[in-house]
């Protein structure tokens, strides 16, 4: 009996050793290996089929092999990556949303790769490039996809109710009210307190700059006049019941889009994908128009989402910085990679060369009634206002959900909710040792 136990213990111990040996060479890699075999890079991404794009690269570049480890996206991934980086287990490359970049940079997760990728600047719109430099000389990521805002509406129902597509926000409000008069059970759209990203995009369009930094000093201007204007506008519509006040991305919302209770949606260029699954019965009945403007004749829009490919400080420390930067540049600028990104990963590419021309010549299947969907989108994308993100976007976003959620439900004052959001954000910055002035 004793011997059997000892054997079992020994076997278990051996197993541990073997497994630990396996796991350590799969991680960030050691320099001894890098010198002999091909460089092995890990890439954390959430976009589906990214591994297929990496395969294209791996075939052409035997000396740098990239393996995609698919993650769940969203704010949690930012936290997970920061924790991993602190423990020295960060991946070499990561997909990151633009608003997460300052958080990742201030936590020393992303490396400055301006030397390696600076040459790619001309391939992107200025506003987009600014988001990966954070307004400095450094470059922390290569833009992958962008998501300019537009207005989507049900062509057939607009015709039925004799509505005109609004070009300004005043017209938008008038359209919402006119629809309520003609069909009280229908709404033009809803104000969703669950989607701070959309609100941020609308504020960008109005000219808001929520975070600005000069030196080490941060300025938070979430309650600036531009954002106040946007909040006041939606507050009025919600108060009168001209638009709905229920959150988006719920089963009830999908149903409302599908059966035509909601006949419009302010969304980004990726809307066709969501409509395909949320409102399958309305195929071919939607159309895209530019986002309504604050000044008639202008053509400015904001963004809702979009992401970039960053190189981590861990990769640089392991001596893989150049290889990783090479892949990030290839992924987002090479025609072959862009083709794969568009066709396999289904993104709206950030590289301007890919936004027009062959890759996106056919409209999305769901919008077959609007054959010039992508040329129109490229036109809209040109007017994308640059966003200004700070190191605690997640805090501002959760404050938005709390404060606006309550205000929307009670049809209350959005101005007060905005002040709450500003206050929470400033306090959190101070608490984390940032200078706020």
């Amino acid at each position: 009996m004793h011997r059997r136990l000892a054997l079992a213990a020994a076997a278990a111990l051996c197993g541990t050793l073997v497994l630990s040996a396996c796991s350590s060479d799969g991680g960030s890699g050691d320099s001894a290996k890098a010198a002999s075999g091909p460089v092995k890079l890990t890439f954390w991404a959430w976009a589906p089929n990214m591994d297929k794009v990496a395969e294209v690269w791996n075939k052409a570049h035997p000396e740098i092999q990239v393996s995609v480890l698919k993650q769940a996206g969203g704010d949690d991934l930012v936290t997970k990556t920061i924790t991993a980086a602190k423990a020295g287990n960060a991946p070499d490359l990561m997909q990151a949303e633009y608003q997460a970049l300052p958080t990742l940079v201030s936590n020393d997760v992303l490396a400055d790769v301006s030397k390696q990728v600076g040459g790619a600047k001309s391939q992107f719109a200025d506003g987009v490039w600014k988001q990966v430099t954070l307004g400095s000389d450094a470059v922390y990521a290569v833009p992958e996809d962008t998501a300019p805002l537009a207005f989507y509406y049900r062509q057939d129902l607009f015709e039925q109710y004799g509505l005109k597509v609004p070009t300004t926000w005043d017209e938008f409000a008038a359209t919402a009210r006119a629809l309520k008069q003609k069909a009280p059970d229908k709404s033009l759209t809803t104000f969703s307190a669950n989607d701070p990203g959309l609100f941020a995009g609308l504020a960008q369009q109005a000219g808001a700059k929520w975070w600005t930094a000069s030196g080490d000093n941060w300025k938070v201007a979430i309650d600036d006049p531009a954002t106040k204007k946007v909040a006041g506008f939606w507050s009025g519509l919600v108060k009168d019941g001209a638009v709905d006040n229920q959150p988006m991305y719920t089963p009830a919302w999908s149903k409302a889009l599908n059966d035509g209770t909601q006949i419009g949606w302010v969304s980004a260029v990726w809307a066709p994908g969501v409509l395909t699954s949320s409102a399958p019965d309305t195929k071919g009945k939607w159309a895209m128009a530019p986002l309504p403007q604050w000044e008639s004749g202008a053509s400015v829009t904001g963004s809702w989402g979009g992401s970039a490919t960053g190189v981590t400080t861990g990769a640089v420390k392991a001596g893989h910085g150049d290889a990783a930067a090479k892949f990030a540049t290839w992924l987002n600028t090479d025609p072959e990679a862009l083709a794969a990104l568009v066709q396999q990963v289904n993104v709206y590419p950030a590289a301007t060369s890919a936004q027009t021309g062959g890759l996106l010549s056919a409209a999305p299947e769901f919008f077959s009634n609007q054959p010039d969907f992508y040329p129109k989108a490229a036109e809209i994308a040109k007017g994308t206002a640059s966003a200004a993100w700070g190191p605690n976007v997640n805090v501002a976003y959760s404050a938005f959900k709390d404060a606006f959620g309550k205000a929307a439900q009670d049809k209350g004052d959005f101005g007060a909710a905005l002040s709450t959001m500003q206050q929470a954000t400033v306090e959190d910055l101070k608490k984390n040792g940032f200078q706020v002035g």
Binding site: S20, G26, A47, Q71, A72, G197, S254, N258, W270
Partner: protein
């Protein structure tokens, strides 16, 4: 779930059935209030299950558009789509979950059994200190330990490996606590002494005498740990970066969060969630008979 597991064997043995006041042959009246309350409780527990079952049968078109509890027509399509998603990675996740939960719960039951027996049947210095520390461990929610455990594992070079999820699952303060209580009550000191008098050494005493008596308790520990590990999300989420090592909980979560341009794959997630609870149900039905052993395994009349 937990209440039924812990209370059945012990309660049924020691507590005499309360004597029912029977006056003549008065017909028993139905107690409406408790019945109604219990019915409400049953509905509350079952409605989400019914929702998952019916939603899993709906195709993408039907999911948000048809009546909530009406079954749909897409179950087999969902199943096929789920199986073929990224080369069948879902089944890899299920296999991983089975490994984490199966091996983890087995090792946990073994460790709990040995520790609980030692704490219950041996007198040694520091015994109560060890037990009190364990009790404190019971009160500590495992979530608070996930990040420190991650940092420890990466110091040991084990982060992002199967061991990083298995090792923290082995030591379960609650399992040890349960095993100790069980060993104390189920193994009479007379039996231990009798075995010693017969010349059994300590290991043989544990193996051949104590262990068989502890089986129902250890089965309970095993089931507890199995369910806890199977449902655990945060620990594997933090520990693992490689999506081929994910358990099914973390894997399904990654289907929900695919970025804005790709809609969440609700139909696949719901079907996957339904399938992921089937092994748990099967396990409970299969293990039930071990609890009954309790009544037969005693050796001393008390």
């Amino acid at each position: 779930m937990s209440a039924t597991i812990t209370s059945t064997p012990r309660a049924s043995r020691h507590r005499p059935a309360p004597a029912l006041p029977r006056k003549g042959a008065a017909p028993r009246r139905t107690a409406w209030t408790p019945t109604l309350l219990l019915l409400l409780g049953a509905v509350y527990c079952l409605v989400p299950v019914i929702w998952v079952v019916t939603a899993a049968t709906k195709s993408r078109q039907e999911l948000f558009t048809t009546f909530t509890y009406a079954p749909g027509t897409g179950f087999w399509d969902n199943l096929a789509e789920l199986s073929s998603y990224r080369g069948g990675v879902y089944w890899q996740w299920m296999a991983n979950s089975a490994l984490y939960a199966g091996a983890g719960a087995l090792m946990s039951a073994a460790v709990s059994g040995v520790t609980g027996y030692a704490l219950a049947k041996y007198r040694f210095r520091g015994r109560s200190t060890v037990f009190n520390v364990l009790l404190a461990g019971v009160l500590m929610p495992p979530i608070t330990l996930a990040v420190p455990q991650y940092l420890l594992m990466s110091k040991a070079g084990l982060a992002d490996s199967y061991w990083s999820v298995l090792l923290p699952s082995i030591l379960s303060p609650y399992g040890i606590y349960l095993a100790r209580i069980y060993a104390e009550a189920a193994i009479p000191d007379e039996v231990v002494e009798a075995a010693r008098v017969d010349g059994a050494r300590e290991w043989r005493l544990f193996r051949s005498v104590a262990l068989p008596m502890m089986v129902p308790g250890l089965v309970t520990v095993f089931l507890f740990q199995f369910v806890a590990i199977w449902n655990n999300f945060l620990l594997p989420y933090i520990m693992l970066g490689d999506d081929h090592k994910f358990p099914v909980t973390v894997g399904l979560y990654s289907l929900l969060q695919q970025g804005a341009n790709e809609p969440a794959m609700y139909t696949l997630v719901i079907t996957g969630a339904l399938l992921s609870i089937l092994p748990l149900i099967a396990l409970f039905l299969g293990m039930q008979r071990y609890w009954r052993v309790d009544l037969l395994s005693g050796a001393v009349k008390s």
